[in-house]
C-alpha cells in the first residue's frame, strides 16, 4: 500500500510522459475520425488515381489496386476502429458489470454457477465467440460485429467485476454504510462502483485494444463491416495480394492498429494514476 502511495519522482515523471503519449496517440485518431465526418481528401469508393501508385504529394500513402486513395481509406478506418472500440467496450461493460455485481451478491449456488459459466466463456477465444455470434446473425454488418465483440468481452468484465466487488463487500466501510441504514443500490452506486472503477477502467482500455484488433481480424476474414466500409482489417486483407509491389497497404493498417491500442492503454494507465486519490502524490 505505502509503496504505491509514495511514488518516486522519476516514476511519476514517466507516468505523466506515458499519459501525454497516450493523449497524443488517441487524440490523433479521434481528430482524424471526426474529420472524416465532414471532409475527406478523396471519394473513398471512387478511383482517385492510377492503380497501386506509390506515395506522392497527391496520394500520401499511394493508391490500392482499384486506384482508390489509401490515406482516405485509412482515415475512415480510424473512425470505424473508434466506433468499434467504444461500442464493444460499452456493451461489454454494461453486460459484464451487471452480471459481475449479480454474481457478487448472489447466493453461493448461483454465484458458483455464474462463475463456472463465465470461466467456460473465457476459455473460448474472444474472436471465436465473436465469429459465432456474427455467423448466427443474418447479415454481417458493423453493428453485428460490435455486438458480437461486446458479448465476447463481457465475460472477462463480469469475472473481474465479481472478484473486485467481493473484495470491496467485506470492507468495514460497507458494513458501516449498512449500519447507518444505506440500502444496497445506494451502496453499489456510491461505494462499490467507485472503488472498483480504477481497476475496471484499465481493463476497459485493454479491451478497447482487443476489440479494435479483433474487429480487424473479423473484417480480414470477411465477417466484419462489409465493403465499402474501409476497416483496417479489410484494407490489410485487400493489400495482401500486392504486398510485394505496394507494401504500404499492409504496413499502414498495422501501424494504425498498434498505435491506437497502445495509445488507449497509456491513456488509461495515466488517467488512473491521476484520478485515484490514493495514488496521487500529496
Amino acid at each position: 500500500m505505502s509503496t504505491t502511495t509514495m511514488t518516486a519522482p522519476a516514476d511519476k515523471k514517466s507516468h505523466s510522459l506515458a499519459l501525454k503519449a497516450g493523449v497524443v496517440l488517441v487524440g490523433v485518431h479521434i481528430a482524424i475520425g471526426l474529420l472524416t465526418l465532414v471532409w475527406l481528401p478523396y471519394d473513398p469508393t471512387a478511383m482517385a488515381g492510377g492503380r497501386l501508385e506509390g506515395p506522392s504529394l497527391l496520394h500520401w500513402l499511394g493508391t490500392d489496386r482499384l486506384g482508390r486513395d489509401l490515406f482516405t481509406q485509412m482515415m475512415i478506418g480510424s473512425r470505424i476502429a473508434l466506433i468499434v472500440g467504444v461500442g464493444a467496450v460499452t456493451i461489454g461493460a454494461v453486460i459484464g458489470v451487471t452480471l459481475g455485481l449479480l454474481a457478487a451478491f448472489a447466493s453461493k449456488w448461483l454465484d458458483d454457477a455464474l462463475a463456472a459459466t463465465l470461466d467456460i466463456l473465457i476459455a473460448f477465444p474472444t474472436l471465436l465467440i465473436a465469429m459465432l455470434v456474427v455467423a448466427a446473425s443474418d447479415t454481417a454488418n458493423l453493428w453485428s460485429a460490435i455486438f458480437a465483440l461486446g458479448i465476447a468481452l463481457s465475460a472477462i468484465v463480469a469475472r473481474l467485476t465479481r472478484i473486485l466487488a467481493k473484495r470491496v463487500l467485506v470492507m468495514d466501510y460497507i458494513t458501516a454504510a449498512r449500519t447507518s441504514g444505506s440500502g444496497w443500490p445506494k451502496i453499489v452506486a456510491i461505494h462499490i462502483l467507485p472503488n472498483i472503477w480504477p481497476t475496471l477502467s484499465v481493463n476497459f482500455a485493454l479491451q478497447f485494444g482487443l476489440a479494435v484488433i479483433a474487429e480487424a481480424s473479423l473484417s480480414y476474414l470477411g465477417l466484419g463491416a462489409p465493403p465499402p466500409n474501409a476497416s483496417w482489417g479489410r484494407i490489410l486483407q485487400e493489400a495482401q495480394g500486392t504486398v510485394y509491389t505496394a507494401p504500404l497497404g499492409a504496413i499502414a493498417p498495422g501501424i494504425a492498429l498498434v498505435s491506437l491500442a497502445i495509445g488507449v492503454n497509456l491513456l488509461a494507465d495515466g488517467l488512473r494514476d491521476t484520478i485515484d486519490p490514493t495514488r496521487r502524490a500529496r
Partner: protein, 269 residues
C-alpha cells in the same frame, strides 16, 4: 422503561458450530455495558447479530430486541429502517471503516442527510455542509473545513477515528456500539478517543455497548461488563465486582495478564 437492546439466549452458528451461545443481557438508555474477552470469543459477532448484519453463512437464533423490534429473522428492509436510527457502530480500524475514494466530508454527509430525510426535515446544500462541520466540531476535529475536503489516507489514525465517530453520530443513534474503537490507535490517542466517547455518550444520553479486550480501558469506560469466552458468558455484573472479585478462572487469568503487563511496563520505566 423497555430496554433499548435486549438479548435473550442469543446464539450464532456457523453450520453446526456454535460461535456465540445463549448470550443474554439488556441495555437501557444512558447505560454503558462492556463486552470483553479474547480474540475470537464472539464479541464482534454479537454486535453484528444484534444489528442483523451477520455475514452470509452465519445464522443467529434466540432473541435480540432492538428498540422494540425483533432483529432475528426480520427482513432486511425493516432492519434498514432500524439501522441508522436506533443504532450505529464505530469500528476497530478507522482506515478500512472509511471509503478510501470518498472525501470524508461527503462520507459524513451521507448518513446525516438520510437521517434528516427520515425525520422529515431534509438537509441539502449549504445546510448539510454546515451540519457536517458542526459534527466535526462536536468530535473536536481541528480545521473542520480542510478535513472535510480530505481523503481518509491524508488524515492521522486519531482523526480518522473521530470521522468514524462523527459518521456514527450523524445517525443520531440511541445505542452506540463501539467495536474495539481504540485498539488500532496509540496510547495517547486512545485516551483522547475514550474521553471523546465518554463525553458524547453523556451529552447525547446514548446507550453504549463497548467491545474490547483491553481491561483497563473497559474498567474506565463502562459500568457493567459481560465476560465472554469462546462464545459463552463466563461472568457478568458491575465492573467493580467482576474485576475486584473475579469468580471465574478465566476472568482471573485475564486480570492477571493485564496486571503482569502493567508490572512489566512499570518495571521497565
Amino acid at each position: 422503561m423497555t430496554a433499548l437492546l435486549s438479548l435473550e439466549n442469543l446464539s450464532v452458528h456457523a453450520g453446526s458450530k456454535a460461535l456465540v451461545s445463549n448470550l443474554s443481557f439488556s441495555l437501557n438508555r444512558g447505560e454503558r455495558l462492556g463486552l470483553i474477552g479474547e480474540s475470537g470469543s464472539g464479541k464482534s459477532l454479537t454486535s453484528l447479530a444484534a444489528t442483523g448484519l451477520l455475514p452470509a453463512g452465519l445464522s443467529a437464533s434466540g432473541s435480540a430486541i432492538l428498540a422494540g423490534k425483533q432483529v432475528i429473522g426480520a427482513p432486511d428492509r425493516e432492519l434498514n429502517q432500524l439501522r441508522g436510527t436506533a443504532v450505529a457502530i464505530v469500528f476497530q480500524e478507522p482506515l478500512t471503516a472509511l471509503d478510501p475514494l470518498m472525501r470524508v466530508g461527503k462520507q459524513v454527509a451521507e448518513p446525516l442527510a438520510r437521517r434528516a430525510k427520515r425525520d422529515g426535515t431534509p438537509l441539502s446544500g449549504t445546510a448539510l455542509d454546515q451540519a457536517v462541520l458542526a459534527l466535526f466540531d462536536e468530535v473536536a476535529l481541528p480545521e473542520p473545513q480542510r478535513i472535510a475536503k480530505s481523503y481518509p489516507h491524508e488524515l492521522s489514525g486519531g482523526q480518522r477515528q473521530r470521522i468514524a465517530i462523527a459518521m456514527a453520530l450523524a445517525c443520531k443513534p440511541d445505542l452506540l456500539i463501539a467495536d474495539e474503537p481504540t485498539t488500532a490507535l496509540d496510547v495517547t490517542t486512545q485516551a483522547e478517543i475514550l474521553g471523546l466517547l465518554d463525553r458524547l455518550v453523556r451529552e447525547r444520553n446514548m446507550a453504549l455497548l463497548f467491545i474490547s479486550h483491553d481491561l483497563p480501558v473497559v474498567a474506565n469506560t463502562v459500568e457493567r461488563v459481560v465476560v465472554l469466552r469462546q462464545g459463552e458468558t463466563v461472568e457478568a455484573g458491575n465492573v467493580a465486582e467482576v474485576f475486584g472479585n473475579p469468580r471465574h478462572d478465566y476472568t482471573k487469568s485475564l486480570l492477571a495478564a493485564a496486571r503482569r503487563l502493567d508490572d512489566a511496563m512499570e518495571g521497565r520505566v
